[in-house]
C-alpha cells in the first residue's frame, strides 16, 4: 500500500496502460461479438461451432496464449489486445445471443406489422431490448479482462502487471501487494460502474 501512495505518477502511468489494453480489447471484442451474436441468434446451427471455437480459446491459459502469439505478432500492446479480445469473445457472444433470443417474438411481429423497416426494427426495438443483457456481458467481460490483462506486462505491454513481475524479480512484496490491490480496486470500480449502466438501460 505504501508503494501506491509514494509513487502516484508511476501508478497513474501503469493504470493508464492497463485501461488502454482492456478498453481497446473490449472495443474490438464488441465489434466482433455484436454482429456475430446477432447473426447467430437467428441460426441455431451456427451456434455450436462458434461456441466451440471460442470456448476452446477460453480454456487456453493466458500465459500460453501470449506465448503462442508472440512469434506471430511480436511483443507489446497489440499482441496483448489480440489475446484479450479472443478471451472476451466467449462471454460476449453468449450474452449477445441470449440477449437477442430473449426478445418476445410478439414485439418483433408487432414492430414489423406496424411498418418498421428491418433497420428500424433493429435500432428501435431489438437493440434497446437486448441492451441490458449485452451490458451485463460487457460487465463480466470487463472484470475478467482487467484480471487477465495483468499478464500483458510479461510481453512488454505494460499495465499493472508490471508491478507483479517487478515485485517477483526483485523479491519486493510491497510491489506485489500494490499491484494486486490496484487491479482489484480497478475491477471493483468497473463492476460497480457497469452495474449502474445496466440499471439505467434496464429501466
Amino acid at each position: 500500500m505504501n508503494w501506491l501512495v509514494s509513487h502516484p505518477l508511476e501508478l497513474a502511468e501503469l493504470l493508464g496502460q492497463h485501461l488502454a489494453i482492456v478498453g481497446t480489447a473490449l472495443f474490438a471484442a464488441l465489434a466482433i461479438a455484436l454482429p456475430l451474436g446477432y447473426w447467430a441468434a437467428q441460426r441455431p446451427a451456427a451456434r455450436g461451432p462458434i461456441y466451440g471455437i471460442f470456448g476452446a480459446i477460453y480454456t487456453i491459459p493466458s500465459l500460453a496464449l501470449l506465448a503462442l502469439l508472440v512469434p506471430v505478432l511480436g511483443l507489446g500492446f497489440w499482441t496483448a489486445v489480440v489475446a484479450l479480445t479472443a478471451y472476451a469473445q466467449m462471454i460476449l457472444i453468449r450474452n449477445t445471443v441470449a440477449a437477442f433470443q430473449g426478445i418476445n417474438p410478439a414485439q418483433l411481429e408487432a414492430a414489423a406489422g406496424l411498418g418498421m423497416t428491418r433497420a428500424q426494427q433493429l435500432w428501435r426495438v431489438e437493440l434497446p431490448l437486448a441492451l441490458p443483457v449485452i451490458v451485463g456481458g460487457v460487465r463480466i467481460a470487463t472484470v475478467a479482462l482487467i484480471a487477465i490483462a495483468s499478464v500483458a506486462a510479461w510481453i512488454n505491454a505494460g499495465g499493472l502487471g508490471v508491478l507483479f513481475f517487478d515485485g517477483i524479480h526483485r523479491n519486493d512484496v510491497q510491489k506485489i501487494v500494490a499491484g494486486s490491490v490496484a487491479s482489484a480496486v480497478l475491477a471493483v470500480i468497473a463492476d460497480a460502474l457497469l452495474r449502474g449502466i445496466e440499471r439505467i438501460v434496464r429501466s
Partner: protein, 317 residues
C-alpha cells in the same frame, strides 16, 4: 368514411417443407367498411391468410389487392403503415410508454409533434383509457388495458383497413365481451374495414357483418351470420356453428322482423313492451317469464305484436 376494399385472388400459401397448403386457393372480396370475421379452428389457415394481406406472409400463389392495387406494388413497410394490425399477444414495446407505443406509426410517417400528441390523446379517449395513461409503461397495465392500447396503436394513423388476429383470445370472457362491444362502436364511428380472426363462434356471430369459415386451409363458406346458421354450405360449417342451436339463431333475429305488424288495439295495454331491435332470443325469455303476447315498439310507440307463433314462423322461414 375512411375504408379500403380488399380482394384475394387465388391466394395459396405453402410453408417450406410442409406436406399440404396452409392456405389453398382462396378467392375473397371484402367491401369497404365491412366487418369480416375469419372463423376456424387452429391450423385452419385463417391467421396465415390474414397475414398475407399485410405481407407478413408471402403467398406462394395468387395475389392480394387493396383498393384495387396489388399489395406487392409498394414496399412492405410502406404498405403496412397504412394497415392497422392487432395481435393476440399485443406486442406493446416494453421500453416505450403507452403514448410512445401509440405514436409509432404516426412518427414513422413523419407527422409533426403537436399533431402526434393530439392524436394520442384522441385515441386514448377512443379506447376509453384515461389520458394519464400516456406516460405509463405497458407492464403497469392489465391485459385488457394493454389490448386497448394495442387497438389505439393500430388505429393511430387512421388506416382504412384494420387486421385483428385473435385480438381478445387471451382475455377473460367479461373483458373480451367488453372489448368486442368497443370494436363495434369504433367500427360504426370510423367505418374502417375490419378483418377479424377468431375461433370463437359466438364472438364471430356477435361482431361480423359476414363470416368466412375456414377448414384445412380452404374457405368453406362466406355469408352473413344468420345464413351461416340457417343454410350451412358444408357439414363442417353446420358442426362448427352448431346450427341446431335454436337459441343461437334467435339471437341473430330481431323482434321487429318477426312481429305481426299493425297497431295493437286488441292487445291489453298491460302487455309487456319490447323494442323492435331486441333479439328474438331475449323476446322468448320475456315470454317465458311474462307470457304472450309482447307489444313491439319503435321509438317508444307500438308497432306490432309478437307471439310464440311468430317466433316459430321466423325459425322456419
Amino acid at each position: 368514411m375512411n375504408s379500403a376494399s380488399v380482394e384475394l385472388r387465388g391466394v395459396g400459401v405453402r410453408y417450406p417443407g410442409a406436406e399440404r397448403d396452409a392456405v389453398a386457393n382462396v378467392d375473397l372480396q371484402i367491401a369497404p367498411g365491412e366487418f369480416l370475421v375469419f372463423l376456424g379452428a387452429s391450423g385452419s389457415g385463417k391467421s396465415t391468410l390474414l397475414r398475407t394481406i399485410n405481407r407478413l406472409v408471402a403467398p406462394t400463389s395468387g395475389s392480394v389487392f387493396i383498393d384495387g392495387a396489388d399489395a406487392t406494388s409498394r414496399p412492405a413497410p410502406e404498405l403496412r403503415r397504412g394497415i392497422g394490425y392487432v395481435i393476440q399477444a399485443v406486442g406493446l414495446l416494453p421500453h416505450l410508454t403507452v403514448g410512445e407505443n401509440i405514436a409509432i406509426v404516426p412518427e414513422l410517417l413523419g407527422w409533426e409533434r403537436p399533431r402526434v400528441a393530439a392524436r394520442v390523446e384522441e385515441l386514448l379517449r377512443m379506447v376509453r383509457l384515461d389520458p394519464s395513461y400516456r406516460k405509463r409503461l405497458p407492464r403497469e397495465l392489465s391485459g385488457g388495458e394493454q389490448q386497448r392500447v394495442g387497438v389505439a396503436r393500430a388505429l393511430a394513423a387512421e388506416p382504412p383497413l384494420l387486421l385483428m388476429d385473435e385480438p381478445f383470445g387471451a382475455l377473460d370472457a367479461i373483458v373480451r365481451a367488453e372489448l368486442g362491444t368497443e370494436m363495434l362502436r369504433i367500427h360504426r364511428d370510423l367505418g374502417t374495414t375490419i378483418v377479424f380472426v377468431t375461433h370463437d363462434i359466438d364472438e364471430a356471430l356477435r361482431l361480423a357483418d359476414r363470416i368466412a369459415v375456414f377448414h384445412d386451409g380452404r374457405l368453406l363458406q362466406i355469408d352473413v351470420p344468420l345464413r351461416l346458421l340457417t343454410h350451412p354450405a358444408d357439414p363442417y360449417v353446420a358442426e362448427l356453428t352448431d346450427a341446431s342451436d335454436v337459441l343461437r339463431r334467435l339471437g341473430l333475429m330481431s323482434a321487429g322482423e318477426a312481429a305481426t305488424a299493425g297497431a295493437s288495439t286488441t292487445v291489453d295495454e298491460a302487455a309487456p313492451h319490447i323494442d323492435a331491435r331486441t333479439s328474438l332470443r331475449e323476446a322468448l325469455g320475456r315470454m317465458l317469464l311474462d307470457g304472450e303476447p309482447l307489444v313491439v315498439t319503435e321509438e317508444g310507440r307500438p308497432r306490432g305484436v309478437l307471439r310464440l307463433a311468430n317466433i316459430t314462423a321466423a325459425l322456419r322461414a
